[in-house]
Symmetry: C2
Subunit: 415 residues, 2 copies
C-alpha cells in the first residue's frame, strides 16, 4: 500500500495569485472598456538583452554540429560559467571563494526549495514574515513546520520574525534558539534592506548558536545605496554560517530562460546528532549529482554573456529602467501622501494601506476604481496585513499611466 508524505496535508492552499487572477478576470469581463494595468506579479517585462541573444544563437548552432554538440555537462555547471560568476560577482568585490563552492542550477526557486533535502527534519526554522512563500511551504513538506494554527494563521513549529513599519523592517534576533534562518535582502515583498552592521548581527547569532543562514540575494543587482551588502559574504565570518542563493531571473530577465546559482562555502558545517561535523558543500554536491543533471548548455552560455563588457552594460540599462519605474511609483505615492517602503534598493514598493483598510479592501478599490492590479500584503503572511506591493517590472509607459491614475484618485484612496 503506497503511503503519501502526510506533511503535504499540512500545506495551506495559497489562493493569493489565483484569487487575484479571478478577480481581475471577473472585472475585465464585466468592464470590457477598462484597461487594467498590472503591477502585481514579480515577473520582468524587458526582453533578453542582445549580448545574451547573440550568445544563445551561437550555442544553439554549436549543438547542431558534430563538433560543437555537448551532451551531459557537469551537474554543478560548466566551469566557464562558474568562473565568470566567481570573478565578477565575488572576487572583483573582494570575496574569496573557490569554483567548487558555486553550483549552477535552473532557478533559485528550485535551489531554495531543494536545499531542505540536506537538513535534519528536527531543525527549528526561523522565517521573516511577510515572506516569499517557498521558504515556508518547502519546510512544511519536509516536516519542520508542525501543524497550522488556523486562528493565528501560522505554523506552530516555525519561528516567525515579523517585519513591519514598527521595527523599520529589520527583523529582531529570535529569543529562542533556532537552527535555520531564512533571510532575503533586498527583501521580497517589502523591498527593504539591511546595512552591513545590521546583517552582521545575524552572522554573529548564527556563529554563536551554530545555526545556518539561508540568504537569498536574488535582488542584489537593484541595490543603489552604499553600505548595503550585495552578498552576505561581505560580512566577516559569514562563510562559516551561510548558504547564498542568487538568480539571473531578475538581474538579467531570465524568468523564462531559467538559470541561478547557489554558493556553499567549504568551511560551512552541519552536525550529526552525535556532534560530528559534516560539510554542507559535500552534501549538496551529492544531492546535485544524484537528483540533477546540470543546467542546459545553451542557458549556461547565455548566462555567461551577462558578464561580458557589453553584457554588463546592457543588463545595467535594464536595471536602471526598472528602478526608474520604482522612482515613478515612489514619487507618485509621496505626492498623495501614501506611506511606502522599499523601491530604492529593490524593484518592489511596499506601501502602507491608508485609512486602516485591509490589504484586500485596498486591492478591490485599486482594481475597480483605479484599474490597477497590485498584490495584497496579507498574501505574504500575517504581518503583511495592512500593506500592499507594487512592482517596478512593468513598462515605463504603464507605470507612468498607473501613477497618474493613482494621483487622480487621491481622494478616493486616502480620504
Amino acid at each position: 500500500m503506497s503511503y503519501i508524505n502526510e506533511n503535504f496535508m499540512q500545506l495551506q492552499e495559497s489562493y493569493l495569485f489565483s484569487t487575484i487572477a479571478k478577480k481581475v478576470e471577473k472585472y475585465t469581463k464585466e468592464n470590457p472598456n477598462k484597461i487594467v494595468i498590472k503591477l502585481g506579479i514579480g515577473d520582468v517585462t524587458r526582453p533578453i538583452v542582445p549580448e545574451c541573444i547573440k550568445a544563445m544563437h551561437k550555442a544553439v548552432d554549436e549543438m547542431g554540429t558534430q563538433e560543437g554538440f555537448r551532451g551531459y555537462g557537469p551537474e554543478q555547471g560548466y566551469d566557464f560559467l562558474r568562473k565568470a560568476i566567481l570573478e565578477n560577482d565575488y572576487k572583483s568585490k573582494g570575496i574569496d571563494l573557490e569554483i567548487d563552492e558555486i553550483f549552477v542550477s535552473d532557478g533559485a526557486k528550485c535551489d531554495t526549495g531543494n536545499i531542505v533535502d540536506i537538513f535534519s527534519e528536527d531543525n527549528r526554522v526561523a522565517i521573516t514574515d511577510p515572506v516569499y512563500p517557498v521558504y515556508i511551504d518547502t519546510n512544511v513538506m519536509s516536516g519542520r513546520s508542525g501543524r497550522f494554527n488556523q486562528e493565528k494563521g501560522i505554523y506552530e513549529n516555525i519561528v516567525y520574525l515579523p517585519v513591519s513599519a514598527e521595527n523599520d523592517f529589520k527583523p529582531e534576533l529570535p529569543k529562542e534558539k533556532v537552527d535555520m534562518i531564512y533571510l532575503c535582502f533586498p527583501n521580497n515583498p517589502t523591498g527593504t534592506v539591511l546595512t552591513k552592521e545590521e546583517l552582521s548581527k545575524w552572522v554573529q547569532y548564527a556563529k554563536k548558536n551554530k545555526s545556518i543562514i539561508l540568504y537569498d540575494s536574488a535582488y542584489e543587482a537593484f541595490i543603489t545605496q552604499e553600505n548595503i551588502p550585495h552578498s552576505i559574504y561581505e560580512i566577516e565570518g559569514a562563510k562559516d554560517v551561510t548558504i547564498e542563493f542568487r538568480s539571473f531571473s531578475k538581474t538579467a530577465g531570465f524568468t523564462g530562460i531559467r538559470c541561478a546559482y547557489v554558493v556553499i562555502p567549504k568551511t560551512l558545517k552541519g552536525y550529526t546528532k552525535d556532534g560530528e561535523e559534516v560539510s554542507y558543500n559535500k552534501l549538496w554536491n551529492r544531492r546535485t549529482c544524484t537528483k540533477f543533471n546540470g543546467t542546459s548548455y545553451i542557458v549556461q552560455r547565455t548566462a555567461e554573456a551577462i558578464y561580458t563588457k557589453q553584457g554588463k552594460k546592457e543588463i545595467e540599462e535594464n536595471i536602471k529602467y526598472y528602478m526608474e519605474n520604482a522612482r515613478i511609483i515612489r514619487e507618485g505615492l509621496e505626492e498623495i501622501g501614501i506611506k511606502y517602503y522599499g523601491g530604492i534598493n529593490a524593484p518592489y514598493v511596499w506601501l502602507k494601506v491608508p485609512n486602516n483598510m485591509s490589504s484586500w479592501e485596498f486591492f478591490d478599490i485599486l482594481l475597480e476604481k483605479v484599474n490597477i492590479v497590485g498584490t495584497p500584503g496579507s498574501g505574504f503572511g500575517p504581518h503583511g496585513e495592512g500593506y500592499f506591493r507594487l512592482t517596478a517590472f512593468g513598462t515605463k509607459e504603464n507605470t507612468i499611466k498607473a501613477m497618474e491614475r493613482i494621483k487622480r484618485s487621491k481622494n478616493l484612496l486616502t480620504k
Copy 2:
C-alpha cells in the same frame, strides 16, 4: 545548531564512472599512441536535429523582442508542449490521458529523484538489480533504505529484484508486500524488455496490494519489436497504479538541452495512515508549483519541434543510426561467441563476461589489450557482477572499429 539529514551518511560513494575515468586516464597517459574507443557512458553523440535547431533559433529571437518575450511560464509546462506530448506519445497510440496529467521538467533524473518527496518515509521499496543508481540513492537520502550491509552490498530495507540470465532478465514478483516498485523498460543497464503479458503481472500485483509502480520508459523510442509496450499505460488498469517517466534525452539527444516529462494520472491514489485516499497528481502538482519554476521556454519550443513531421523523421534517423550500432555490436559479439542480451529494443548491449572473469577484470583487459572502454556490470548492483555494458551511442565508425578490434582479440577475450 544546524543538524544535517543523516540519511546521507548511509549513501555509498559510487566510484563507478570516476574509477573508469581514472583507469582510462592512466592508461592513455602511459600509452599515448593508443587510441581508446569509448562505448561506456550512456550519453549520445549525434547533434541536435535541424528541425529542433530551427525551432530553438526562432524561440531565441522571440525572447529578444518586446512582443515575443516570455517570463515565468506555467510550472507544469506550456500547453503547446503538453498537447504535443499528449497527442503524439499517447492519444495516437490509443492511450487516453488529459493534459494536466503531464508535467514537463528539465530531466528524468530530476523527476525520478524528486518524486520521492510525495511518498511516506515508511514505504517499502522494491528495485531491480542491477539498476540505474538514482532510484536507490534518492530513497537512501529520504530515509527508506535502512542501513547498508557492507558484506552483502545491499541496503537492508530495500527489496532487491534480481535480473540476470537465470531468469531471462524478467524480475520476479516480490514474495513480501512492497509499496513502491521501480521498473525501467527497455532496461538500463541490461537493454532487455518485458512483453505486455509480463508487464501485466506487475500491474496486477500493484492493484492487488495498492502499491505504486514508478515506470521509467526513457528508452521506449528504441523499441523495434512488436508486443513490447512503449508505455505502461498500454496495460489495462495501469493508470490506477503507475507514474510514468519519459525523457527527450535519448530519444532526441537532449542530454545537454534538458527536457523530460512525467505522467501522473488523476485516478492514481496514495493513502494516509488513516486510510484516506489522496491524489498523487495533486501532490506532485503542489510539489511542482512550490519547488520548480518551469522548464526554459526555449527548451520547450525545441522539444515541441520533435513532434512535427520533419522532426519525427529526423529523430527516427538518429534512432536508426544508434540501433545500427547496436546491431554491429551484437553481431560482433555473436561472431566470437560472447553471449549478450539487449541491443534489440534498447541502445545497450549487456554481455556475459566470458571465462568467469569478474566485470572489472574484463574491463581491464578490454581497456589495456583491446583499447575499448565499456562499463562493468557490477557497478550497477551486486547482480550485475559477471556482466558488462556496451552502448550504441558512439559514432558508427568507432563502433565498427571497436568491434573489429574485439573480433581480432577473440582468443584473448574468450579462451
